[in-house]
Every structure is written in structure tokens, then in C-alpha cells.
Assembly symmetry: C2
Homo-oligomer: 368 residues x 2
């Protein structure tokens, strides 16, 4: 193990992740799905949801709160809708199947949606709309998550970072792909600041006094003890629109929980009342819209591309060289990561070596 | 006309609005729909979209850019979807019919959505999801709007305030009803500050230098000259998540324009290249989800109510007495407005008298 970040080829990390999932007991085809979701995050430069999370899944399997074999039970199904129970299997496997169901229904009837209960962490939210985009549809994906965000005028961490993901095809080399938490930030970014020994920007985190917290180390400890909470998009209070971010997070909670009769808010903590780890009981909601039911796909792609080009080509704020559209930075990053490899920091190196040894994956020769 | 704000009974204002629309040439039944949307906004205390906007519709009819007779053309229709052309008729009439189509499709097939082109200003966005909620469904409504918001790292007003509205039924006396611009604020709030002779909060509006503008009078003039623009939810730049609000506004633009092959961004200004008024060519997107296709309605209502009660009953930030959920403030306001009447400010009094005289609506005896 080295003391600095080193880059490892995408193929190596991808293959290692498949082998880890398989060695843990995930059927190989399903392990490929899990690894595909994670590597997509790494390719987009979103380190918080890629190989950096592999040890989390490993730990949860070892704790017995994540099932490596996925029982995908269709509880109810109609022309355009389905309700699925994931029985605490692999969230990526459950979600990829659920999204594909929504897509297939949309292709036939115009729209499709699938609500999922008893699921687990499914990786990056944007992966699922991208499945729809690749098949020429609009896709959306919503999930609740363990409680960490406070409502406007409150201080308890209750809502998850509850992301919204939306994808649409364009006539460009890359799609419009939005994937963002409804909080200003999330744990992964605080951890990055911690490693860099930097303070957390004012306004991102609220403490029990209703004030902004900036001590990064204290924030990480406080999040665990429920003494600190993330702030909704728009900030503390209503002045800058914090109630809008809070409302969006609530929409995601309703779509993820109420349509499947499942758990919500505090019940998603991953701990039982005795503070022992338990399944997270997450809920998701996937939605697909078939474009050809409205207009020809090529026309839709051109209109969407024209909207995005108009935005990008408009007047820059002085000192800013470029205006981006959602999904563009990830597309640029993917080219860089494929060329240079995935950055593996010292902490992650340690984790990879632990899993390699424990699971006997001796064929890998990491440069650390 | 008085020099101060006076309150007028809800029934009087409601009836007057119906008579104004009818006198302008809107068929009486359709005029009732327009007035119903506007009075709902007044009842919720959202003065910017109620009777305060009546003169805007009046002016647009007089300018010949808003058609009082609505030709609702169904261009394409499938089991779950429809594409509608509104031919620049009354936006409220077009939208109420389109939303009902989405609801009817959802009742039968589980989901329904309708894209609308060549529409006009449809009033308050939240009215349409509420139609779905009253019939036991989830409803969503999206619309683009005349350009006023700058993309992240840009300064041109390109996107509209592009609101998102979402409604879900609950087991309480009022629904969950979210209706918010994807910008931090909108013109109506700047006008309120102008009347009160107050500065605009820093961070709401961006100028050509990429800096925040706070001089309210200069902002109102600058918005007209496209020298000032609203800032996306999340603020200027990316630090507090401004790119998320910008991304959400882009989603609304895509849903509102690309599915109907219509106009977008700068083309929605309401002016032709010679700076003469023209139709706004707005697009909308309405979506309904039938809850019973997933879970029993009563179960959904209870889960949603439980989520909202948990949020409201959580620990308040010191100094804050209450945590609200979306739609709650509007419900509280409606009780107050019904008891006390709708506040009519001096400028609005003048406008009502102008319309009353011009249209010969002599039976109204306003207290001003």
C-alpha cells in the first residue's frame, strides 16, 4: 500500500468488482450488473458511488443485512405499472430489472412505472434513466435513503439525500442526464473535505441550534450521532428557497415509500432499536416515457439538443469559460478516466487489499 | 379608488373575473374555468397569480395575442398519452382539459400524460395536480415560461422560472401540494419589494457582470431589457448547488417543449423580432399516476400522512415554532382569505376599475 493516490486501469477495477461480488455469493451475471453500476460512477468521476463504495456492500453482506441472492418478486402488475418486492437483495440488480420493466411497458403503452420496496443501496441514481435513454426513452429514477437531511425550520436528520435522476436522449454525443441529491451536498463530499483537512462551506450542514456547522471532523461525527443534518437545496430557512429543496426531497420520499406501502424517514437508518445493523428497507420509483408516442424520436433529439446548445452558447458570466448542461461534465470525465485510470486513494487501497485477501482474489497485482 | 389596500369578498372577485372573461369573448363555461384557476391562487395567498393577473389576460386579448375561443386540437393520442395543440387559446382551459385527459388515462391504464403546444399562460401550476389529487391520483404539471433565468455560469435570461408542481392525496384535511419555480424567486416577489420600497435580497438576481443585483427598481427595469436575470434555486455558481436548480429548470424545459416539437427559451418572449407583442407559444406537460394500480388508496394516504406528520412533529430549529409541509400554508391561508376577503392594492384597484368601465360591468360596487 502506498501513501498517495494511484490510478488503476478501468478494466482492472471493473473486473475486480465483478470478482468480489461473485466471491461474496452474488450470481456472476448479477454481480456484473452491480459492477456495471459502480464502474459507471467511477467513469463519471463520482468517486463517492463507485469502487469507493465496494467495501460498504462487502461489509453489509458480512453483517448479514444484504442478501447476495436477489429474489425479485412482482407483487402486483398492470399494463403500465408494477409493484416489486426486492427482499433485501442487491439494490442494483433489483433496480436494473425494475427500470427495464418500466421501459418495456412504456414501449408498449407509452408510459411505464415501477415502485420497489425492501430494496437496498442501488448505487448511482443516474444509471437507471440512462438505461431508458439508450433505448430512446425518457427515464426517471427516485429513491429514499438513510435519514440525514433536516426539514426547513427543523434540525432532526429525517429525510435522505433523496436524489432525483432524469435522462433524455439528444442528437449530440452525450445525453441530457441529471442526477442530484435534493440536499445541497452529501456525505461523500464531506469525507473528501476531511481527507483534505478543509472546513465545510457555511450553509451545507445544520446543527441542533439551527446554525450552520463548518468543522468538518465534528460534522462527520455529528452526522453519525444525529446531531448534525444536511440542509435542503436552497439553504437554511426560506429566504433562498430552502423550502423548495425540502419539498422536492419530500416528493421523492412519497414516490419511494407511499406507492409501495413501505418504510420511510427514520426507519431507513440501517439500525434496529438496539442499535444493531439491519437492512435499510429502501424504496425506489422508476418511470419511463416513450417519446415516439408523442413525436418522432429524431425530432425530440433535435429539439432537446437545440435547447442544450442554446444554453451552452449563451453569454458567459465574466471569468467563466464555459456553460455546461447536465451530463456533459460526466461525459468529459469518462474520456479522461478511460485514458488515465481510476484514482484509488490510500484508504481505498487498504480496503481493496482487505477484500482481495479475504476473498482469495490472488490474480490481481495492484500497484500498491 | 383608495390609496390603500382594501379587502373584497372572495365571491365578488370570483364573479367579477367570470364576467370579465365572458365579456372579453370567452364562452361562459370556459371563463368559469379561467376564473377558478385564478381565484384558487388568491385563496392560497399567492397574489402574483390571482386577480392581480386579470389585467394581463385582458391586455393580451386586446393586443390580439390571446384567443378567447379555445380550439383544443388532439394531434395524437394513444392509450396513455396525448399531444394537444392549444392554438393560443386560454391556457387555463387548455390545461384543465389536458390534465383531465391524463387523469382519465391513468384511471384506466395506471398512468397518463399529455404534452401541450401553442398554449398560453395557464395561471398557477399547482391547480392542475390538485385536480388529480381530488380524484385520488398523483398529479404533476410542468410548464416553460418567458425567458428570465440564467444558466449556471451564464448571465443571459434564457430559461423561464419553469415551475414544478406535484400533488398527492393524504389522510389529512389537506393534500401534499408542491408548486415552486426552479428559480429562487420570480417577478411577482420583486414587484412586492418594489411597492414596499425595499432592496432585493442578495443572490436572487444576477447582472451582466455575473454579480448579484439588489436595487429593486433597477432590477425591474433590467429584467425587461434582458440585462438582469433570475438565479436558479441553489444560487449563483455551483458552491451551494445552483447547477441543480439550473438542471431542474432544464428538465422542465425539455418536458414542456421537446415532447411537443414546439418553441423554447428565447422564442417564448412574447415579442417578435420587431419587438411587437406576439403569442407566447408556451408548452406544458401533465402527468397522472393512479395510486390504486399500486396500493389501496387509503393505505397510500396513510403512509403519506405519516411521512408529513413525522416531518412536522420533528424537533424545531430554536426560535421556529412550526415545521410546514408543502400545501399546508396555502390551506391555512385559504381559511383566512375566505373570512377576510382578498386584498386589493391601489394599483390593482385601478386596473379593476378600468376593466369594469371598458366592459360595462356596472353591477359591481367595489369599495374603492
Amino acid at each position: 500500500m502506498t501513501e498517495k493516490t494511484v490510478r488503476v486501469a478501468v478494466e482492472t477495477i471493473h473486473s475486480f468488482m465483478i470478482d468480489v461480488f461473485t466471491a461474496l455469493g452474488v450470481p456472476r451475471d448479477e454481480g456484473k450488473t452491480c459492477a456495471q453500476v459502480l464502474i459507471t460512477s467511477d467513469l463519471w468521476g463520482i468517486e463517492s458511488h463507485g469502487v469507493g463504495r465496494l467495501k460498504m456492500y462487502y461489509d453489509r453482506v458480512k453483517q448479514g443485512i444484504l442478501s447476495t441472492t436477489t429474489e425479485f418478486e412482482i407483487v402486483k402488475e398492470t399494463e403500465t405499472t408494477a409493484l416489486v418486492d426486492g427482499h433485501n437483495g442487491m439494490g442494483h440488480v433489483i433496480s436494473a430489472r425494475a427500470m427495464q420493466m418500466a421501459i418495456d411497458k412504456a414501449k408498449q403503452y407509452g408510459m411505464g412505472s415501477v415502485a420497489v420496496r425492501e430494496s437496498t443501496h442501488f448505487g448511482i441514481d443516474g444509471y437507471y434513466p440512462l438505461m431508458a435513454v439508450k433505448q430512446g426513452l425518457i427515464g426517471m429514477a427516485f429513491t429514499n435513503a438513510r435519514p440525514s437531511m433536516a426539514p426547513t425550520f427543523g434540525v432532526d436528520p429525517l429525510l435522505g439525500t433523496n436524489p432525483i435522476a432524469f435522462g433524455a436522449p439528444t442528437d449530440e454525443q452525450f445525453p441530457f442526464l441529471y442526477d442530484a441529491a435534493t440536499s445541497i451536498t452529501q456525505r461523500g463530499k464531506i469525507e473528501v473535505l476531511d481527507r483534505a483537512e478543509k472546513p465545510t462551506p457555511a450553509g451545507w450542514v445544520i446543527d441542533r441550534e439551527g446554525k450552520t456547522a463548518v468543522d468538518t471532523e465534528a460534522i462527520l461525527a455529528g452526522l453519525k450521532r444525529k446531531e448534525k443534518a444536511f440542509v435542503p437545496l436552497g439553504g437554511i430557512g426560506e429566504k433562498m428557497g430552502g423550502h423548495k429543496g425540502y419539498g422536492l426531497a419530500t416528493i421523492v420520499e412519497i414516490l419511494s415509500a407511499s406507492l409501495q406501502g413501505g418504510m420511510f424517514l427514520r426507519s431507513l437508518s440501517g439500525f434496529n432499536p438496539e442499535e444493531s445493523p439491519q437492512a435499510h428497507h429502501l424504496g425506489h420509483f422508476f418511470l419511463a416515457i416513450d417519446i415516439e408516442h408523442f413525436v418522432p424520436l429524431e425530432q425530440f433529439k433535435k429539439t432537446t439538443g437545440d435547447i442544450l446548445r442554446t444554453l451552452r452558447n449563451s453569454t458567459k458570466s465574466p471569468g467563466k469559460e464555459r456553460i455546461y448542461t447536465a451530463g456533459e461534465k460526466e461525459w468529459l470525465m469518462e474520456k479522461e478516466i478511460r485514458a488515465q485510470g481510476i484514482p484509488i486513494n490510500p484508504n481505498l487501497q487498504k480496503n481493496l487489499l482487505v477484500m482481495q485477501e479475504d476473498l482469495g482474489l490472488e490474480t490481481y497485482n495492484f500497484p500498491f
